[in-house]
């Protein structure tokens, strides 16, 4: 009988794939990490559809207080180029009611309900499953609205995932 198992095994051959050296493509429709296109997001106009449907509260919306109620020099900086820096500081937003949309990939369960709820298709599901990170913070508190896709920024807000070593790289 051992002989027959040997036969069976040899006939099947080796089916082990070469991941991570060769990337494993997931099928179409596979639910990996969601990403946001900030240009289509309506959170600044008051839309909270994704935040409301998120069961593990991975998506969070914060409205920064308008600068006029704060008595500091932050409001003197220009709104566009220093926006990221100002929003992250404790001194409040540079504009009136700056919106901060964060997605914690550590909490996300990739259910895709936020994508379904989004009225403009700003949130999209990708098939990216390589979400390992070295530190918990690298997965979270990513201001999705601050990331411009024109300057090559990634739509996941630059969450610091570890990239697996690939063949022909490095």
């Amino acid at each position: 009988m051992v002989f027959s198992w040997v036969h069976k095994g040899l006939r099947t051959g080796v089916l082990t794939t070469r991941y991570p050296a060769v990337h494993e493509q997931m099928p179409e429709g596979f639910r990996g990490k969601p990403v946001l296109d900030p240009d289509r997001c309506l959170s600044e106009q008051g839309c909270t559809a994704c935040v409301q449907i998120c069961l593990p509260a991975a998506l969070e919306l914060k409205q920064e207080a308008p600068y006029s109620v704060r008595n500091d020099a932050a409001h003197l900086r220009s709104a566009s180029s220093d926006c990221k820096e100002v929003v992250q500081s404790d001194e409040g937003g540079a504009g009136a009611g700056a919106t901060q949309l964060t997605l914690d990939y550590g909490r996300c369960i990739m259910c895709g309900l936020c994508v379904q709820a989004c009225p403009t298709g700003a949130l999209q599901m990708t098939a990216d499953y390589e979400l390992a990170a070295r530190h918990r913070e690298d997965l979270q508190i990513v201001n999705l609205l601050e990331v411009s896709t024109e300057d090559g920024g990634t739509q996941d807000g630059g969450a610091r995932f570890i990239s697996p070593p690939r063949e022909g790289e490095g």
């Binding site: 009988m1 198992w5 069976k8 099928p27 429709g29 596979f30 069961l55 259910c111």
Partner: protein
């Protein structure tokens, strides 16, 4: 042998309270990942029964098909696990190979390797396209003859079989008194299966057999699982052949305040029962779930003592194939 369960207690029942209806299946799925579809199915059936929503025929058939897919990959995995316990490594690889193929098919047709996110109150989140159905047909056609070969080889491998015969016996009397469910019960003479006895989804429309044995040892459990796997393949073929057309989802209605309903499904582990009660505001007020593993872990401690030796323990554990998370929920 004393079991110390409930380290995986997560308060699932409490978490479900007050949630909007569309989020509830997400909670039910996560009771036990390997019976996620069965749990969300039972739960959605309870919701639909409570709200008096009748799902479409295509939904019933596809739900049955996905439930059998879940049963299929689990049974293949349990054979692999048992071969690992007995050191039959080529057999383990062969069964694991088939399990992986089914998981990849799951990912292709549902977006998730473990069929999460398919059941919604009112039907299914999405349809299974013709391409997915064809892939499923091809998988079944390839698996059936290979499974026959593997079963024959497995049951003739004395290094494997000798460790299963008379090991971890659960007597029919104990199985009956302690309410063992699922394949564990059926290997010990408890001739019960929700699919036949309380049909749900499309099970009333199709033909299948429920194998039962009396010996109650690990070998009986293996044979029940092998036979159930073959039955699942036959079920999938029938369902694909007779799949009705149409949509797969109807709108969900509001839950009547104060109403309650029962939903059930035969997962790979056995009977899963979900009871829900709606509050006055239309959200879930109380959720009570009895996963199959909760019933079966109790009989596990009966099967271990006796004439079994220490090295029989992994064999007994794998032959039971129970879910810790399912028991604790």
């Amino acid at each position: 042998m004393s079991l110390q369960l409930f380290y995986k207690h997560r308060g699932v029942e409490k978490r479900a309270e007050g949630l909007p209806v569309e989020l509830l299946p997400l909670v039910a799925e996560r009771i036990s990942g390997t019976s996620a579809f069965a749990h969300s199915l039972a739960f959605c059936q309870a919701l639909e029964h409570l709200a008096e929503v009748e799902v479409l025929p295509r939904t019933l058939y596809l739900r049955t098909l996905l439930a059998e897919l879940e049963r299929l990959y689990n049974h293949l995995g349990y054979q692999a696990d048992l071969c690992q316990a007995t050191g039959l490594t080529v057999a383990q690889a062969q069964f694991d190979l088939w399990k992986e193929r089914v998981l990849r098919l799951n990912a292709a047709i549902s977006g998730h390797r473990y069929l999460f996110g398919m059941n919604v109150p009112g039907g299914l989140r999405c349809d299974i396209a013709e391409r997915g159905q064809q892939a499923l047909r091809e998988l079944v056609a390839a698996l059936r003859p290979d499974l026959e070969t593997l079963s024959r080889l497995l049951l003739a491998s004395s290094s494997h079989r000798d460790r299963l015969e008379t090991t971890g016996i659960l007597t029919p009397q104990d199985a009956c008194s302690y309410g063992a469910v699922g394949p564990i019960g059926r290997a010990s003479g408890v001739n019960r299966d929700l699919r036949r006895d309380h049909p749900y989804a499309a099970y009333a429309d199709i033909d299948f057999a429920i194998p039962t044995l009396q010996e109650g040892d690990a070998l009986a459990r293996v044979r029940i699982r092998l036979e159930e796997t073959m039955q699942s393949l036959a079920l999938i073929d029938q369902l694909l052949e007779r799949l009705p057309g149409g949509a797969v989802r109807v709108p969900m209605q509001r839950l009547p305040p104060g109403g309650s309903a029962l939903g059930w499904a035969e997962s790979v582990h056995g009977e899963c029962i979900h009871w829900i009660c709606a509050g006055q505001d239309g959200t879930l007020q109380r959720y009570r779930v009895r996963p199959a593993s909760f019933a079966n872990w109790q009989v596990f401690s009966l099967a271990v003592p006796g004439h079994n030796i220490l090295t029989d323990f992994p064999v007994i554990e794998q032959s039971f194939g129970l879910s810790f998370a399912g028991a604790d929920c």
